[in-house]
């Protein structure tokens, strides 16, 4: 399919001419200069991918101190054209619209509203170019961590110019990690060297380095290598890398399993209270999770700009919202149904339909966006192979915190004692002076509130929409029943083990088959232990 090179043909010809001319004139000049920067800026102002690309090359080559800020701003999409005069500014969102800075004079240039500005759009090719350019500029940054990121960024995209720069810098580098990175980058570039001896030397230097770029580099080398000795060294290295990767791969699978497990536990733990302890077959549980997720959305809408804080505030808010709805459900419907557990299924199924449609009507039938705070995204790089994603770690930690808190509430507080008393023998508890109606309402509220808190966590992982609850309800019931109804520990162990089993099965069975196998496993397991993993002694919740 033939493709057109430019989106708008409006000024293409003129631009191409300018770009071509400047390119011819400027490129041969090796030394830096503000003139190049200015010319580059002029090209960037055209807001045309090809021209901007040349402009970036000019700016990057200028060596001008202003270049780094300019390119970084472009990389972050913070470069704007003012519509009225077509001037280029670096814009940062301020209180009254955007605060503008002139990239050439580096002075503030007042503010402008968003509609008066037009962003300089960039595409992937430009992003890639910018990344190398900014990284190269950052190699001389005073901050060691910035240098380290920069060198890792450009590990597998070293060209002749930056190679020379790297060789110069590597000798003077004080920071060991940065130096190591630079050596690796140089060695990687050296893999393309003419003499086999130098290639072997480079390979030796790369030994033990697990960075994917290294593996890729060696694979590339092997695919065209003629020299037997180099081949042997390369293959040995690759094998060692592969072994370590498999090892870390297993650790990764385990981590994936635990994080999937904690999602399951979070989703199920509220149900472990409402269903497990109280015996209510709560089909509206999923919708209580959904309400928690929507609460996160609303709190974030109420305090724009404070994503992280909003998330923290959303936890108690979701607990209160879902808890209150839970108490409302209990007082309004479920309290008339004690002793008829199966009918709670019918009523709560109705409630779940109503809650879903309520959200569709009041908020929107579409999904709503919930932002992730920056500290939740990204990952913790243990080495170049194993990195644990931050949001998953927070989820695991959060799951454990919620579990511990709930466990303490049930074990150590007056409420917990009363809940257990009522669930074991309602009449007796009442005779002992426990206000069972109040306890029922509070217990259901607690379980629902926990479901809401789970919703906050899930809002960080998946869609927030009216169907959110539906996708978790079945799994939640499986976890609670597998663990043993009425047993919090059971829910934890069940959720975690189902998560890990699922993830271990997934690589060789595929996602769907793994899930089917897990379900079959649950069915068979219940044959062997008809009361779940941790059977409740005595009067368990029975249907």
């Amino acid at each position: 399919m033939p493709t057109r090179c430019l989106p708008s043909a409006l000024s293409a010809l003129r631009l191409c001419l300018i770009a071509g001319l400047t390119f011819i004139v400027v490129v041969p000049l090796a030394q830096a200069g503000p003139a190049e920067l200015e010319q580059g800026v002029e090209l960037i102002q055209t807001n045309d991918y090809k021209a901007v690309e040349q402009g970036v090359a000019l700016v990057a080559a200028s060596g001008d101190p202003r270049a780094r800020d300019l390119l970084a701003a472009l990389q972050d999409s913070k470069l704007y054209l003012r519509k009225e005069d077509g001037q280029l500014f670096i814009g940062a969102r301020g209180e009254a619209g955007y605060d503008l800075v002139d990239p050439l004079t580096e002075t503030a240039a007042g503010t402008a509203a968003k509609r008066d500005l037009k962003p300089i759009r960039i595409n992937n090719r430009l992003r890639s170019q910018l990344r190398t350019a900014v990284a190269t500029l950052n190699l001389t940054h005073p901050d060691a961590s910035v240098r380290l990121t920069a060198v890792n960024e450009m590990l597998d995209r070293v060209d002749a110019d930056s190679l020379a720069l790297l060789r110069d810098l590597a000798g003077e580098e004080k920071n060991a990690q940065v130096r190591e990175g630079m050596t690796a980058a140089i060695a990687l570039a050296d893999l393309q060297a003419e003499e086999p001896a130098r290639r072997i030397e480079a390979l030796d230097q790369l030994e033990g380095n697990l960075h994917p770029a290294v593996q890729g580099g060696i694979q590339r080398l092997l695919s065209q290598e003629q020299d037997a000795e180099v081949r042997a060294t390369g293959e040995r290295l690759l094998e060692a890398i592969q072994f370590k990767r498999d090892l870390y791969g297993f650790a990764e699978t385990l981590f994936f399993g635990l994080s999937l497990g904690s999602v399951l536990v979070l989703a199920a733990i509220g149900l472990a209270i409402t269903f497990g302890v109280m015996g209510v077959i709560n089909m509206a549980h999923g919708e209580l999770i959904m309400l928690g997720a929507y609460t996160t959305y609303i709190v974030q809408q109420l305090m724009p700009g404070h994503i992280g804080l909003a998330l923290f505030l959303a936890i108690p808010a979701a607990f209160v919202v879902s808890g209150a709805v839970g108490i409302l459900i209990e007082r309004g419907v479920i309290r008339f149904l004690y002793g008829r557990p199966l009918e709670t299924l019918l009523a709560t199924f109705g409630i779940s339909l109503i809650l879903q449609q309520l959200v569709r009507t009041l908020i929107s039938p579409q999904n709503v966006p919930v932002a992730n705070p920056d500290w939740m995204s990204g990952s913790w790089q243990i080495n170049s192979v194993l990195s644990l994603t931050m949001n998953r770690m927070y989820i695991i930690a959060f799951c454990l915190i919620v579990f511990t808190a709930l466990y303490l509430v049930m074990r150590k507080t007056q409420l917990g004692l009363q809940v257990r008393a009522v669930s074991q023998n309602r009449a007796m508890a009442r005779a002992m002076g426990v206000r069972s109606a109040r306890v029922d309402a509070l217990t259901f509220g607690l379980g629902s509130g926990i479901a809401g808190v789970a919703g906050v966590a899930l809002s960080q992982l998946t869609n927030v929409g009216p169907n959110l609850g539906q996708s978790y309800i079945i799994d939640s019931f499986m976890v609670v029943v597998f663990g043993g109804v009425g047993n919090l520990w059971g829910t934890l162990v069940a959720g975690m083990s189902l998560g890990v089993v699922n993830k271990i099965l997934e690589p060789w069975a595929g996602a769907v088959l793994a899930k089917i196998l897990v379900l079959v496993f649950i069915i068979l397991f219940i044959q062997k232990r008809p009361r779940g993993l941790f059977p409740q002694k005595g009067r368990a919740a029975e249907g």
Binding site: Q527, K528, F534
Partner: protein
């Protein structure tokens, strides 16, 4: 650790799925005069030893009362005989040939052991008549049940039992609507309909008036001889009125055995049981 214990039970090699265990011969043989042998039986619940090396023999045709303080293991013993609870150690034989520990509850019932529970359990949504019909000794497999119709003989048998338990008037009433005492009788009636060799009767007179109690005593006495009857009871007057042989259980094993008088005069019994409070 509970987890570990659970895991261990799951992994135990002798714990296979129940339906895979082979069955033994089911013909009752009481040629030695003894119908029930319980030997060296022990059961532990969560560290509590409910039955402790229990040995008990019941002769065919006798009416035996078993007494003992709360927690002596009376009900647990019944559970073991009827297959509800499996002992940790020991053997339980019905006659010479039937190993009770290898049979399921319905199998035990069909070889001829009937049980009345402490708390009367009748089928509350069905009529008195239907309750008796259900309990009646008959082919209790699925297909025969579907096509089963009451024969005149069976009608007569139900009528006879209704008369024995004095519920002729109530045959069409829902069992759930009966009084407590009536439910107890109905349950005994259901036992009779099963026509078992051995009847296990758990606290038959709890909550009954004196009149009702007397009638129950009559009823049980009339059963002995044709059936073997084992009664667990608290009420000493009642026990005295029916039993010729009494067994005293204490902490899961037999403390004393003999006639009511012998037992009542046994110093150990007085110590742990009668001495502890009022005999009545």
């Amino acid at each position: 650790m509970k987890t570990l214990d659970n895991l261990r039970t799951t992994m135990r090699r002798d714990q296979v799925w129940e339906f895979m265990v082979p069955k033994t011969g089911l013909e009752l043989d009481i040629s030695h005069g003894t119908i029930l042998y319980l030997e060296d039986i022990s059961v532990t619940f969560d560290g509590f030893r409910a039955i402790d090396h229990l040995n008990l023999y019941i002769d065919a045709g006798e009416l035996r009362c078993i007494i003992g303080p709360n927690g002596a293991g009376k009900t647990t013993m019944m559970d073991i005989i009827t297959g509800k609870t499996r002992p940790d150690t020991g053997t339980a034989w019905f006659g010479q040939t039937i190993d009770l520990l290898r049979l399921s509850e319905p199998e035990i019932a069909s070889v001829g052991i009937g049980r009345k529970f402490q708390k009367p359990t009748v089928f509350e949504h069905q009529t008195v008549m239907e309750n008796l019909e259900l309990a009646m000794a008959a082919d209790k497999r699925v297909w025969p049940t579907l096509v089963a119709r009451l024969t005149p003989e069976q009608h007569a048998r139900i009528d006879a039992v209704l008369e024995t338990i004095g519920l002729q008037e109530h045959r069409a009433r829902r069992a759930g609507a009966l009084s407590h005492g009536q439910k107890q009788w109905l349950e005994i009636g259901m036992l009779l309909m099963q026509d078992p060799h051995l009847l296990l009767v758990d606290e038959p007179v709890a909550g009954m008036t004196h009149q009702e109690m007397d009638r129950t005593a009559e009823l049980l006495k009339s059963l002995a001889g044709r059936h073997t009857v084992v009664v667990v009871e608290h009420d000493m007057d009642f026990v005295r009125s029916i039993a010729n042989k009494v067994t005293v259980l204490h902490q899961g094993s037999v403390l004393a055995e003999g006639s009511m008088d012998e037992v009542q005069n046994d110093p150990r019994v007085i110590e742990v049981y009668l001495g502890g409070g009022d005999g009545h």
